[in-house]
């Protein structure tokens, strides 16, 4: 009993951390393979569609869009990758891009991109909490392996 509690105490933060790094990774770790893949594909597709529409410099920008950047950080791995892409490319662009540069953006596209990426981050918070709840074994939720066995019948 104490061993199981100890196991859950390790699994819960680990599942949350994995989900933060990459959406659905916590579920995959817990054995919810199909669920994890659905979450991984959906949230990553939403995030990178936002980047494709708005451009990373105008979308993931902690200076001009601080509140949205905090929301985007909900999906940590994706946001940090997009931020690294922005930073590395803007550093190479000399002189710095002008205000109307396509890198900094068409305002309507940038707004759509920010909404997509911000909502992807907020959705991932839900995924992190779900992974932690499943790791904790609270509620009526069965373990991933038990569900997969049941689903396979």
């Amino acid at each position: 009993m104490a061993k199981a509690q100890e196991h859950a105490a390790v699994q819960m933060p680990l599942a949350g951390l994995l989900s933060w790094i990459l959406p659905g990774l916590g579920h995959l770790y817990l054995g919810h393979r199909a669920r994890g893949l659905i979450l991984l594909i959906t949230i990553c597709a939403t995030f990178w569609t936002g980047i494709f529409i708005g451009g990373s410099a105008a979308t993931v920008n902690p200076h001009s869009r601080k509140a949205w950047f905090i929301a985007q950080l909900g999906t940590g791995g994706n946001t940090l990758a997009a931020y690294a892409l922005t930073a590395s490319t803007l550093r190479r662009l000399t002189p710095a891009p002008a205000e109307d540069s396509p890198f900094l953006g068409h305002w309507l596209s940038a707004d759509v991109g920010v909404h997509y990426t911000g909502i992807a981050g907020l959705l991932n918070l839900l995924v992190i909490l779900d992974a932690m709840a499943r790791a904790d074994g609270s509620g009526s939720r069965e373990s991933g392996r038990a569900q997969e066995v049941k689903g396979g019948k």
Binding site: T42, S109, Q147
Partner: protein
């Protein structure tokens, strides 16, 4: 190749207001799929539940939009 990919991800895509409105549909679908994936115990329930939620969100948002438009029209 990596330059093209980086260019696609760095530059914004120009769009009109109509295209802007259409992009609400995939975003709402994504919200519905993620929410129902966390809530449904049986994975086979997810597609139908997600579609129902997606339609509800879209109709709800259009309803709010039409309501606000009517309110502003009356007040103007």
């Amino acid at each position: 190749m990596s330059g093209i990919t980086a260019g696609l991800l760095l530059a914004t895509t120009a769009m009109t207001g109509g295209q802007h409105a259409l992009l609400m549909f995939p975003l709402c679908l994504s919200i519905a799929v993620v929410y129902k994936t966390t809530r449904c115990d049986d994975l086979r329930d997810i597609p139908l539940a997600a579609i129902v939620l997606w339609v509800t969100i879209v109709l709800g948002m259009y309803g709010v939009g039409v309501g606000l438009w009517a309110l502003f029209s009356v007040m103007a």
